[in-house]
Structure formats: C-alpha cells, structure tokens
Amino acid sequence: MKLSLSLTRPLAVAAGIAAVSIAAPAAAEYPEKPVRIVVPFGAGDSLDGTARVIAEQLKKELKVPFVVQNIPGAGGGKGTAEANKAKGDGYTLLMGSTGALTARPLISKPGYVTSDFVPLAQLVEVPIGLAVKADSPFKSVKDIVAAAKAKPGGVKYATPGPGATQHINMEIFAKAQGIKMKHIGGRGGKGAITKTLSGEVDFVFVGAPNYTGLARGGKLRVIGIAADERVPYLPNVPTFKEQGYDFTVAVWFGLLTRKGTPAAVVSKLRAVVKKVANQASTSALYKKFNFIEAFLDGEGFQKRIDANVAKHRVVLKDIGLIK
C-alpha cells in the first residue's frame, strides 16, 4: 500500500549516511536536522496552538526547525500510531494526550502501546466540568446522583466520545456512587454540549473551558468542576469535592519521544522542554486558552501515565470496552 513518494525517505537516507560518517557522540550533536512534533489533533485548535508556540521556542533554543505535523483522527489514536512508526532518535516527538495514550491501547490494537513512548514533560491540564441546560431541574451533583438512583438508566449524559477520558471517568464516578447512567458520544466536546442544549441528554461532561461563553450567556449551568480547586474562569462553580464527592479528572497534554531514543538525547530534550515550558510567554498563552499550567518532569509524567493506565483498565472492563 505504501508508495515511496515520501520525502522523508531520501532525507532519512542522507541523515543515515551523515550519522555513519561522523559517528561522533550523538547527543552532543543533537539536534542536527529538523525535528517533527506530531500533534494527533486537527490544526488550529487550542492544543495545536500550544504545540506551535512550544515548537517556536524549542527552535530558538536548539537552533533547528521544530515542525508541527497534524494527524487527526480516532481521538488522537491515528497520529499517535504515526509517531510510533518513527525511529527512536529524538527527531519525532509526540504531543500526547490522556485518552489516546492511556485508554486506546487497552481497547484495541491501535499500532502502539503506552510504553512505546518515553515522557519528556507534561505541559498542561484541562479540568473537566459537569454542566446542565439552564432550565434543567438539576442544581447540584447531588441532584443528578439522586435522580440516577431513583431511576437507573434514566439519566443520560454526553462526552466527546466512547472511550474518551471524560467517558471513562464519568463511569468511574457512577460506579463509586452505585448508579447507572446512559452515555451518548458527542463527536467532540462542542458536539456533546450541543446535545445538552438540545435536550437530548441531561448533562455534559467535557473540558471546563468549553463552558465559559455559554455559562455567562445563561444557556448552560455548570454545576461541578472535577478538580482540586475551583477554576479561575468559572469562579462561582464549586468543585465535586466541595459537594462531598472525592472526584478529580483532568485531560493532560505532554511531550513524549519514541522509546529507544538515546538517554543523552532524552535528558537534553527534557532540560530544554522544562526551560521553555516555564517561560512567561508560554504561561500567557496557556491562560488565553484557559489551560491550567501543570508542568511535570519526565519521571513525574511517567508515574501519572502508569497510574492512569491502571485505573482505566479496571473501568474499561466494567463498561464492556475490554473483555
């Protein structure tokens, strides 16, 4: 199926020859050619915007172009699979996200497993929030839990899609409360919100930044944020914790490289990404997109990924997405 039209092949050959002829300490030379950052989501959305700004700053630090390549599809699965085809040399990086990295490989064989990638740093988090239509009888999380208890399967909710972090975690919540609800995928966060506004579902559970305009315009009522603290852009919305539910969910995004990348290259990348991520201009951009700055170094990020995978495995079995 694959035609050799790709420009990457001659480039790779040239690079290979160069590498052999020099055969010097690789890390000292890294990077000696452009680096690709695969963003497994469409161009132009806020995550892509972040990736492009980080790429620009990495370019300034390391003096080679960092090229963003958008490969959307399958909730990030397609682009992640594409990044996994690259050699582990630090010349292909991945902007990884929660669902694609930690849930998708458990559900099916998407062409990668979580351990195919070595974390460089977690960059941002998007806290997830629960919202209802303005005229909904539900005023708090407690109301929803009570309604679902009274009529199992009677409460319907929407998330960006089946198997998404938001879906998995709402099922975790339901299990903890001993309730059953019906899930309907919205084909993206905005689509899930539309399903709530049209009355097709009772509530929506997606990234809290999606709600700001509609909440202020009086169309949606946000009734719970699944984070440790309230979010600055929705200051009046209580957290789940304040309402008596120990429940936090965030979608996170971070940079990873393919496994097999030389240790020296990994540590060089980790150091540079850390420096770039903590610059004031980066923070200003995050703020505009309502991202929460959440830097974790390579080891911390790895721990978080492992914890997510362990948690997801249990729930996915419960809801029948894995046998």
Binding site: S6, G42, P110, Y112, K182, E200, G213
Partner: protein, 493 residues
C-alpha cells in the same frame, strides 16, 4: 437588526475601510483560492495554518485574513472540479458532476462563470441571514437531536442515489458501498475498532479527501486513458456573454434562492458542512433535469451546488457567534483564533461586541466581492488548461492527485489508499455504477449510523420518535416520496 446600533456600524466601517485591512482580506481570498483549488488542501487547512500567524495581529487583521481564506477556499474548489473533474474540496464534489460534463462539451467558461456568481450569491444571502436573524436561528440548530440528524442524513442519501442518473438500483448499491467504506475505523457509538484490517491508519476511518480524489479524478483519468479517441473529442471552448449568465439566474431564480437557504440552513447545523449542503441542493436541482442534460451537463446543477456550498459560510458562523459552537470544520478552527484575540464566542458576543460583529459581516461581504471580481476576471483563461493534449494533461492530473493526497497528513498512506480506491472506482464505472452515491455514502453513512444508534439509545429504543418528532417525520416522508417519484419516473422512461 435591533441588536446592532448605527454607531456600531459606523465604528466597524471606520475600522474596515482601512486600506491595509482591505489588502489583508484580498490576501486571504487569494490564499484561500490556492488552498481551495489545490486538491488535498482545503479551506480548513488554510485557516488552520494561518491562525498561528494571527496571534500577534489585531482583531480586524486576523479576521480579514482568516475569513478571506474561508470564503475563497470554499469557492475555489469548484474550478478544478469543473475543468479536470477533481474537486479541490469535498464541498465542490457535486459541482463536478454537471460542471465537468459542461466543460467537456466546450462550456467551461459558462460553468466557471456560474460557479463564481453562484458562490457570490450564496455567500451574500448567508451574510444577510447572519446579520438579520442570527440569534433566532441559533435556536433552530438546537431543534436538531440525533433523531433529526438521522432523518437529514437519510434524506440526503436518498436524494443523491435517486438523481445520480442511470439505474436506481445501481445508485442504491453504490450508496451502500460508500456506507460500507464509512463503517471502517473506531465505532462512533461503541468505541470498538472495526474493518481496519489491523492497519492503524484506518483507525480514524477512510479519510474523505483521498476517497474523493480517487472516485472523481483518478477513476476519470483511467476512463480517459482507456479511451483512445479523446484527442478528437474535446470541442472548442465557447465564450459566454454576461447576458447569457444572467439569463440562467433569471430562469432559475427560485432554485438559486432555495439553494442559498439550503446552504445557510445546513451551515447552521453543527457537525454538517458544505459537502452535505451542496449535495442536497444538487439533488433539489436534479429533480427537474431534462434527459439530454444528463450527457451535456446541466447548468442548474452547478448553480445549486455552488450557491449552497458558499452559503454554508454565513450559516456556520451563526452557531459560532451566538453559542460558541462551530457550524463546520473551519469555524471550529476559528474558535482558537478568536480566543487568542481575547474573545470567547458565546451568546453575549453580538450584544456586547456588536462593532466586532459588524466588522465580521463587512469582511465577509468584501471577501465575497473579491471572489466575484477575481473569479470573473480570470474565467476566460482558466479553460486554457483544457487545450492541453490528454497525454500531457492526464499525467499532470495524476501527479496533482498524488501530491494532494500526500499533503493531507504528509504521510504516504493516503496516496496508496487513493490509488486503490481509484482503481476500484474505475471498475465500478465500467460496470455502470455512478460515483456520486459512493462518495455521499462515505460522507453520510457514519452520520446516519451514529445518529440512528444514538437516537434509539437516548429514547429507550423507541423507534416511534422518528415519526412523532415533526422535523424528522417531514424529512423521512420527503425521502420516501423521493424514492417513489424516482421509481415511477424510471418506469415511465
């Protein structure tokens, strides 16, 4: 209109009348024309690539550039669709059906002129609707639940299977094949993987753009290459006078108006877009098609498809600017651009920032005028491409298709997929199957399936919702009538 004060209009005019802003709109339109006309590159890609460039720009400059690309990009895909049967973007595929036939019979100038003027009319009507009725129409979008989307998708499928010409049965089989292709990837309701043959590239389903290039351009090239007499068959291209173009609109004024409203209405619905709009309007035009028009290409088809295609622009901005929910893929990208400007689009946007809203309207208007001027100015020499002999033209189109498919994700997978599907398309054409329903099955199949399953889940498996909810009942009744009417026409013929 009461939302917009005269002072807001004055302020907006002052901001937009700046020659620099007008220049940015022009630049946007030209970039859009390039992205729209090049197969594989779409308006969505153009706006996405340009968005980071606007991070440091003012609101007016950012919107001038991005909305210029938006309007230019939606229109320009019709040019390769007409001239070489290669729709530059999915929304222009319906234009290829009649437009390409017209071009092959020496009427490329007329087809391109109609496409330019129709794009302008569609864009203009949608701007008017956006200006006058945006807040009210946002609620229309919210009338649509999975039940209505299922009905709309079904209606669209039936329309095209019925009007694509030839045997009704073959049309339906072709649509079913398209829907089968559309089943590949992650199941949108259950989350399981299906029909990917273990290839992670298919996780996201069969991508539309390579399929489109394959079924229209590649299969047509193979048909052309297999035919030995093509050298002689292309007639001299005829020039058309402005009066003749105007005559087509006078005769088809209601079709034009209907198509503009179909496009705007479908633009308003989140999760749809120009592809569906153009096909439904095309189906509308083909209901009254004369038999000989099948071979020669019907100007009505070009008018309907292109009017509806560009009317999506204003329509899709309605839910964006009133709810913060994008109406199509380009408006989804625009959210990022607006956030960077410190604007969180939502229900208060028009009320609180009416001057910015008027600026957007004026930019759209000027962008559409740019399209009209550039389009009509260049239409005379565009058909020159058809003077190239097939032995040069066909390989050039082949290279264009391959680069276009590669450009989608910069991966070779799409190129291989395009080749395989193109070959399959050629075989289907040789057996008399129409290509349009295959493409539409691929577009609408997932929409029909997802919404059918979601509608049943949301309504406790109660199938009566499809007849008790009025909009759905209306659309499904229309679909049944379309099948019945087509069947009767075929029996008479």
């Amino acid at each position: 209109m009461d939302l917009i004060s005269f002072s807001a209009i004055g302020a907006a005019l002052g901001a937009i009348a700046d020659p620099m802003i007008l220049l940015w709109i022009l630049i946007g339109v030209v970039v859009g024309l390039i992205f729209g006309a090049a197969p594989g590159l779409t308006a969505t890609a153009g706006v996405a690539i340009a968005t980071p460039l606007t991070f440091g720009a003012s609101f007016e400059v950012a919107m001038a550039l991005l909305l210029g690309i938006y309007c230019g990009g939606y229109f320009a895909g019709s040019i390769p669709a007409i001239l070489i049967n290669t729709p530059g973007a999915p929304g222009n595929a319906a234009t290829a059906l009649d437009g390409y036939r017209m071009a092959r019979r020496g009427n490329a100038d007329l087809a391109v002129s109609l496409s330019v003027v129709s794009s302008f009319i569609g864009g203009f009507v949608s701007i008017l609707v956006l200006m006058l009725a945006a807040p009210n129409l946002a609620n229309f979008a919210l009338e649509f639940t999975s039940v209505e989307y299922f009905a709309l998708g079904t209606f669209g499928l039936v329309c095209v299977a019925a009007v694509s010409g030839g045997s009704l049965l073959k049309g339906m089989i072709a649509a079913a094949l398209g829907m089968l292709l559309g089943c590949s990837g992650i199941d949108p309701v259950g989350g399981m993987t299906r029909l990917t043959f273990g290839d992670p590239n298919l996780l996201g389903g069969v991508p539309l753009m390579p399929a489109l290039i394959a079924f229209f351009a590649v299969s047509e090239m193979l048909v052309q290459a297999a035919r030995r007499d093509t050298l002689a068959t292309l007639p001299v291209q005829r020039r058309v006078a402005a009066r003749e173009v105007a005559g087509h609109y006078l005769r088809n004024k209601w079709l034009t108006v209907r198509s503009a409203f179909i496009g705007t209405g479908i633009g308003i619905l989140p999760g749809t877009g120009p592809t569906i709009a153009a096909w439904i309007a095309y189906g509308e035009s083909a209901r009254k098609k004369a038999p000989q028009a099948q071979e020669e290409g019907d100007p009505r088809g070009v008018i309907a498809a292109e009017t509806a295609n560009n009317a999506v622009t204003g329509g899709a901005l309605i839910p964006l600017l009133t709810l913060g929910i994008p109406g199509d893929t380009v408006t989804a990208v625009l959210i990022g651009a607006l956030l960077i400007q410190g604007i969180d689009p939502g229900p208060f946007f028009i009320a609180e920032k009416s001057d910015l809203f008027v600026q957007i309207l004026l930019i759209l208007l000027f962008a559409n005028i740019c399209i009209l001027v550039i389009g009509l100015g260049t239409r005379r020499w565009l058909p020159a491409i058809l003077k190239l002999p097939p032995r040069i033209l066909i390989p050039v189109i082949g290279v264009l298709c391959a680069t276009g498919a590669f450009a989608i994700n910069n991966t070779p997978f799409e190129v291989g997929l395009m080749a395989v599907l193109g070959l399959a398309g050629y075989v289907l054409i040789r057996f008399g199957f129409p290509m349009a329903p295959v493409v539409l099955g691929l577009v609408l199949g997932p929409m029909v399936e997802t919404n059918l399953r979601n509608a049943l889940t949301a309504n406790d498996m109660d199938a009566t919702v499809f007849v008790t909810r009025p909009i759905a009942a209306l659309l499904l009744t229309a679909a049944v009538f379309t099948i019945f009417w087509t069947w009767r026409r075929h029996r008479r013929a």
